[in-house]
Symmetry: C2
Subunit: 104 residues, 2 copies
């Protein structure tokens, strides 16, 4: 689903990743857990995901403080550690301020 | 591929879309054409795409002016018109300033 975000400005985290061949069922379980957990965070506005050879997840937030709090959430810290250690060949995270939005 | 973007700040366009069932070979041809054409634009820094039920394309730019010029490129204007008319059920475009980047 496309997130129904509020009027700008707000913040976005663009998470782009390439999975490792070792990312198996443990990865899928954690991905599902994070997909649910993120929606419960303070300041969360929505998130969008797609994956083919590349994975892109964009999450939307009210503030940089909300992004920092999510980064430091206990289960999310474990997910990040496992991601670096075994699930991702490479990834990049970009923190953005959304200045303008349009669509139909 | 994950884009090798320069030190922040720079700009990102997050394009999230849901394709219409009518998006056939004409859509695929135009998507391929835009995928090549965008890389030739002034101020272009890279782009990343993934699609499953949702499509997400993020393109990176040196400035808002470069983004505006790409929006007004002749073939791209045609692609946008056709996108609205027949290829997309819905889409959203978000213009962002990338303030921080990390990864491995």
């Amino acid at each position: 689903m496309i997130s129904n975000t509020p009027p700008t400005p707000y913040y976005a985290v663009i998470f782009t990743s390439i999975k490792s061949p070792e990312a198996g069922e443990d990865y899928s379980d954690m991905a599902r857990e994070m997909d649910a957990l993120v929606t419960e965070q303070s300041g969360y506005l929505g998130h969008e995901s797609a994956r083919d050879s590349l994975g892109i997840t964009v999450s939307y937030w009210v503030s940089l403080e909300a992004i920092a709090a999510w980064k430091n959430e206990t289960r999310h810290l474990l997910a990040q550690d496992l991601g670096r250690e075994k699930w991702y060949q490479t990834y990049k995270i970009r923190i953005c301020k959304v200045e303008k939005e349009y669509g139909f």
